[in-house]
C-alpha cells in the first residue's frame, strides 16, 4: 500500500484513497501518444502469432517443450533398442565336426544334433550336413535308423535320408548347410549358410564335401 502512487500498467492506482485520480490521468497518455490497443484478458491481441512469436518467454517455453519431447523420444528409442540384445549366449553358427574318418559310410550322425541341431550324413562319395529344423514349424525331427527316415515328433512330417520330405505337413525338404574341410582336416560346418532344394541350391559345391 506504500507505493500505491507508483504507476501500474493499467494506469489505475490500486488504493481506493486515490480514486478521484482515475478519471484524470487516464486520458493523458491518449493525447501524448497514439492509443495502444491493450489486450483484454479474454481475447488475444490482434496480429498475435501465439506460440510462434518468439518472445523471450516463448523462447523458454518452446525450449522447455522441445527438451521434454526430445527426452521422451530418446527414452523411447533407448527402451526399444534395449530389447535387441547385442550379445547372444547361443552356440556359434560355424563349428568343427571332427575328422572324416570318424564317420561311417551310409550312416546319419546325430553327434552334433543336441548342441548344433545338425545331422552329418556320410556317403561313399562324401558328406553333407542337414539342418535338424523341421520345415513345417521348426521342431527337431528324429532320425529313425530302422525306418531309414527323419520323423518330426510334433506333427508327423517325414523326410528321406537325403532331406526330401515325403509325408506329413512339411512343405519343403530339410535345409542343407555349408560344409567344408578346415585347414586341420576337420569338417567345418556353417549353419548360417543354408541351401534349399526348392531353390536349386543343392547342386552348389559348398553344400557337398567330396571325400572318398
Amino acid at each position: 500500500m506504500e507505493n500505491s502512487n507508483a504507476p501500474n500498467p493499467a494506469g489505475v492506482p490500486s488504493a481506493p484513497s486515490t480514486e478521484p485520480q482515475i478519471q484524470k490521468p487516464a486520458p493523458v497518455p491518449a493525447k501524448a501518444a497514439p492509443p495502444i490497443k491493450k489486450p483484454k484478458q479474454d481475447r488475444p491481441p490482434e496480429d498475435d502469432q501465439g506460440i510462434w512469436r518468439i518472445s523471450r518467454r516463448n523462447f523458454f517455453s518452446i525450449a522447455g517443450w522441445a527438451a521434454f519431447f526430445v527426452f521422451i523420444a530418446t527414452s523411447t528409442v533407448g527402451a526399444l533398442r534395449m530389447m535387441f540384445p547385442r550379445i547372444l549366449y547361443e552356440p556359434p553358427s560355424a563349428f568343427k565336426a571332427g575328422f572324416p574318418e570318424d564317420f561311417i559310410i551310409g550312416e546319419v550322425s546325430e553327434k552334433y544334433k543336441d548342441e548344433f541341431r545338425v545331422w552329418i550324413v556320410r556317403e561313399s562319395e562324401g558328406f553333407y550336413a542337414l539342418s535338424a529344423i523341421c520345415t513345417h514349424l521348426g521342431c527337431t525331427p528324429r532320425w529313425l535308423a530302422s525306418d531309414n527316415k527323419f520323423k518330426c515328433p510334433c506333427h508327423g512330417s517325414g523326410f528321406r535320408m537325403s532331406g526330401i520330405n515325403f509325408e506329413g505337413p512339411a512343405p519343403r525338404p530339410l535345409e542343407r548347410l555349408k560344409i567344408s574341410m578346415a585347414d586341420d582336416g576337420e569338417l567345418l560346418i556353417d549353419r548360417a549358410i543354408k541351401f534349399r532344394f526348392e531353390d536349386g541350391d543343392w547342386v552348389k559345391p559348398e553344400c557337398y564335401l567330396k571325400y572318398s
Binding site: 530389447m83 535387441f84 549366449y89 547361443e90 514349424l137 510334433c154
Partner: protein, 258 residues
Amino acid sequence: MLKLREKIQQSEVWKSIFRHNYQDTNRNRALQIVDNVFLHLHPIRISRHATNIGFTWGMGGITFLLFIVLTITGVILMFYYRPAAEYAYDDMKYLMNDVAFGPLIRNMHRWGAHAMVITVMLHMFRVFLTGSYKPPRQFNWVVGVILLVLTLLLSFTGYLLPWAQLAIWAVTVGTNMARATPLLGHEGPFGPQLGMRIDNDVRFVLLGGTQVGPPTLLRFYVGHCIFLPLIAAVFMAVHFWRIRKDGGISGPTTNGKD
C-alpha cells in the same frame, strides 16, 4: 454386550470406516454402493433384464473373477518359481511334489487360465449373438477384442514357464509363425526388403535371441507377470466403465417398458 456393540459402532474409528448402516431405504442402499471403492464399479441401479442369467450368461463377470483368482494364485506361485533356465523346471517340479498345497495352487492357476480363455470366448459369443456390439457399444467391442488378444498372450507366455519339452517346443512353433509377419518378420512379405534378418526382426525381440532360450524364459516371465496383466487391468477398467457409459449391460428389447 449390546452396549459394547453400540459403543463400538458409535466410535469415531468405526464411523470413519463405515459411513452407512443397514437401513433399508433406497437412498441408503445406493450410498452403500457409491461410497465403497470396491462396489462403486457396480452401478447403483440396474434394469431387471440385467440379472437375467439366461440372457447374459454372466460370462464377463466370471472372466473377471477368474482374472482375480489367477492374479492371486499367480502371486503365490511367484514365491517358489525362479525364471532362470537352471531352476524353472525344477521349481515347477518342486511345487508339484513337495510344496504344501503346491499342486492345488498351481492347478488352480493352470485350470483357471484354461477356463478364462473359454469364458472370454463364450462372453464374446454371447455379445455377438445378442447384438451387443452394435451402437452405442462399438468401442467396447473393440476394447473387448484387445482384451481377448491380451488373454491369449497371457496364456501363451504362461505356457513357456514350466520350461518342459512341451513348453519349449510349443513356444518354438508359436514364435516361428512370427517369422512370417508382414514387414516385421524376416520371412514375411516385404520383410527382407526392409532389412529384416533372423537377428533383428520381431521374433528376435520376442525371444531375446534367434531361438527359444534362457532370455526367452525371462522375457515371457516378465511379460506374463507384470506387463500383460498391467495392460489388461487398464483395458478392463475402460471396458467396465464403458459398459455403464453405454447404457449398462445390454438386454432384450423392452419396447419402452422397464
